[in-house]
């Protein structure tokens, strides 16, 4: 059944992830750095919600390891956080998909809280305990960005018939 689905347009998914990775390391002025949204999480939540048969745990793992490499942290740290986010999203995708946008944003907020908590936890075990407050800034920024990201990725998905 899965093989009968059109497998093309893989590159659209790959491109969204590459753009997310680019934005993850894009140099920002110092004051803006704590507000950097978690682009990779947004993209992962989107694809896990709308195309759970295409993007799931394995993709999240690979992307997470890439984020780990790019951010210079411990290998597996972002991967673990991203896998947990993807897992919760996949579990709830049938409900969340039909929520109105503001309820979806609330779900994204709680998923971001999970993501940030896992990262903070691992960092805390390594001794990087600073920034207890600034760490939570990306939660709000990412949540606010969610409706726009959905619109944009919906357009992309329809335009290139990713399914």
């Amino acid at each position: 059944m899965r093989t009968s689905l059109p497998r093309r347009a893989n590159w659209v998914i790959a491109a969204t992830y590459i753009v997310a990775l680019l934005f993850t390391i894009w140099p920002l002025p110092n004051w803006a750095e704590p507000f950097r949204p978690a682009w990779v999480v947004l993209v992962t939540i989107y694809w896990c919600l709308f195309l759970p048969h295409r993007v799931g745990l394995l993709v999240s793992f690979v992307v997470g390891v890439l984020v780990d490499t790019l951010s210079g942290g411990l290998l597996g740290e972002h991967a673990l956080a991203l896998i947990l986010v993807a897992w919760v999203t996949l579990k709830l995708h049938l409900q969340v998909r039909v929520y109105p946008w503001w309820q979806q944003a609330l779900v994204v907020l709680s998923l971001m809280a999970l993501y940030t908590f896992v990262l903070f936890w691992v960092d805390g075990m390594l001794g990087y305990t600073q920034g207890a407050m600034t760490r939570w800034m990306p939660l709000l920024v990412t949540t606010v960005l969610w409706p726009w990201v959905v619109q944009l990725l919906n357009l992309l998905q329809q335009r290139y018939q990713v399914s």
Binding site: L58, T69, L70, L75, A79, I83, L126
Partner: protein, 308 residues
Amino acid sequence: MFSLRQQRAPQLFSSNPAGAVRTLLLIVVCIALMFYDHQRGHLEKVHAALSTLVYPVQALVNAPYALVNWAEDKLATHNSLLAENTRLRQQALVDAVQLQQLAALQQENTRLRELMQAGSRLTGHVVAADLLAVDLDPFRHMAVIDKGTHDGAFAGQTLLDAHGIVGQILRAGPVSSEAALITDPGQAIQVEINRTGLRTLAVGSADVDVLSLPYLPNNADVRQGDLLVSSGLDGRYPPGYPVGVITAVTRDPAEPFANVSARPAADLDHGHDVLLYFPVETPPPLPKPAPSAAKKKPVKKHIKKQPR
């Protein structure tokens, strides 16, 4: 048998996307990765391969910065080049005069050291490298440089800039390396106060402009404005390079240690040009980094816990 296998195979990798087995498996893999990565050295090859894989992304992010630099070079006017040339020539003259003095001082130092039968200080040579304009984890003070093992860079190598010590290479990949700045909370450097020769540790803080010196007793002779130079006792950084300048000393009689902070001498925040330091005797440094990295970690942790 065949039908059983056919039924089973899709279960693990089928369209049931959030399978418990797969999730648990991947979580265990992640935890194992973190565990082995924390014990440095186990995953060096994986890191090297991954850093090569993501290098295009880093290069792409760095591209606008590189382009602006290139355009500035190409579009520089004759006049501005002339002005820069004059300025640089004057700077070279000033530097040369200071170097004359240095040569005499060095000679004197060598003679005195010979008198004291102390070994002469070895100096290394440096190779220029560029920091890529990419942001890493905001809670670690790290940087990516455009030189890797192909250019001779190695883990544990010291990074300098025109003003002092920048940090050290944590992981050297084939084409790029990750370096930790001295202000990274996980880093420490052996320093001595230039005025008195008092030795202590300078450890990174949360702030990119602040080094903290948590192990100076209240009665230590330290003042605002004192220059900190590397002592080389850590076996990692070369001795005698500027590390920072003391900015604040607060002594609280109720505390065993004074609260001393310093500003890094190197231009950690804005600099893009760094120098890779190569020690002169090339044979020892290659095997050296691994054992000292293993040794350094627990020592640091142990000391860190003491004041609490």
